[in-house]
Amino acid sequence: MLALELSFWQLTAIKTVIVLSLIPAGAVILGYVFLLKMMAHMQSRMGPMEPGGFHGWFQLVGDGIKFIQKEDIIPAEADRRVFALAPVVVLISTFLLYIVVPAGPDLVVQNLDVGIFYALAVSSLGVIGVLMAGWASANKFSLLGSLRAAGQLIAYELPLVLAVVGVVIQAETMSLQGIVGAQADGEILGIGWIGNPFILTQFVGFVIFIAAAQAELTQTPFDMPVAESELVAGYMTEYSGFRFLFFFMAEFGTAAALSAIAATLYLGGWYQPFVTGDLANIVGPLVLGAKVMLVAFLIFWMRFTFPRFREDQLQTFAWKYLIPLSLINILVTGVLKVVL
């Protein structure tokens, strides 16, 4: 697609810059649209209206500037090196997620053959950062929060993976580009021109994926790790300034990335009927962006509606409902795949 020839390192540098700018951009857009505005409207408030002039669009950017100005506080008893490293580990996990998500036929940083496998693997890397943060803070709230986060993320990693297996069986590939292609080439009841988004055949998988993604993001109703009334802010209690900003960006950046993966797996990704060739590279990111906003809307809608689970209800929900349900989903998908 690109006419000019770039060396490997030049291309890598460009891709890195793009992905690095996508994380704060995604975090700011999701944070502004959903956390500030949608939540406010759902509570019959206006949200920020002053910063930047138009409906407070500058609020989160201003918050970011404020965070960077703040003093870098590390508790006296903290394990300084691990404490400093933890937010970076969490952010790297988010960064790595963006690498495999395709936004067009050629717009993908690296189209791995095991793309979805890789994405689910690096998304659980964040747990290590969370555990590091909790342990290094030398604070009981942080430690309890990080242990809760670890227990929760491990419990919900399973339904997340198992829900994806259904899609992989149906698409016969683990590459995210391949999954988009499988949906584009698919047909619904013999009608092929709009493709076959897997949400139709894998609806149960989609629901499980969204619920598990919600838990992976430690958002309400699964926000026990950062339950304010019990644990202050969980593993983030001792963090302030730009280190807290890293956690914040990672949370919303991961929300954007998981929404993009859900959109790719279940809603057809960047694919748009009748648009082919170079045009798809321009329309693709817009289509994907719209689908990301749709999935993120679902996630945040639940976040702003439901109250927090109890710790045992959380584990019950994962082990007794989501995991058996996703196993049945795999079984049915597998049988139908062989039979049909």
Partner: protein, 161 residues
């Protein structure tokens, strides 16, 4: 899963509220630009009708946190009838309320026997320094203009002469 209808209902409530806020605006107001209309009997600030005050000190004595400062002196006035004793009247020199201490209980308003103190819904009198919250009788008199009319009497009630 008996919880499912409830979950869907909850989602519906938030979604409807969102659309309503979008279309008809929020229940909150953007304060410095728009102002909320205070309720008729809002306890914003206490206003003083100076000509009614006889410096009887009842309000100052009933005030639970002693935030009312009254000073007065006595003056002789000519008798009402020829040959009578000259009358003694109280003249109000100072009537200050320290709003840094006031807890807006309204006992002074209740206890005033001459209808000299009133509740006003005015609320914009914050100050940068705490000492500036001590307001004198001129300032308290200005707030009289913001005191709303008393509510109409109930049906069948008769106004005292």
């Amino acid at each position: 899963m008996p919880e499912l209808p409830g979950l869907a209902k909850g989602l519906g409530v938030t979604f409807r509220t969102m659309l309503e806020t979008w279309r008809h605006g929020a229940v909150t107001v953007e304060y410095p630009k728009q102002k909320e209309a205070p309720t008729p009997r809002a306890r914003g600030v206490i206003a003083l009708k100076e000509e009614n005050c006889t410096a009887c000190m009842l309000c100052a004595r009933e005030c639970p946190d002693w935030c009312i400062y009254i000073e007065g002196h006595k003056e002789k006035r000519p008798p009402r009838r020829e040959g009578g004793k000259p009358r003694t009247v109280n003249i109000l020199d100072r009537f200050d309320i320290d709003y840094a201490l006031c807890m807006y209980c309204g006992i002074c308003v209740e206890v005033c026997p001459f209808d000299a103190l009133f509740w006003s819904p005015e609320y914009e009198y914050s100050e940068a320094k705490i000492a500036d919250l001590l307001h004198d009788k001129d300032k308290l008199g200005e707030w009289m203009a913001t005191v709303p009319e008393p509510p109409p009497l109930e049906a069948g009630a008769v106004k005292k002469k």
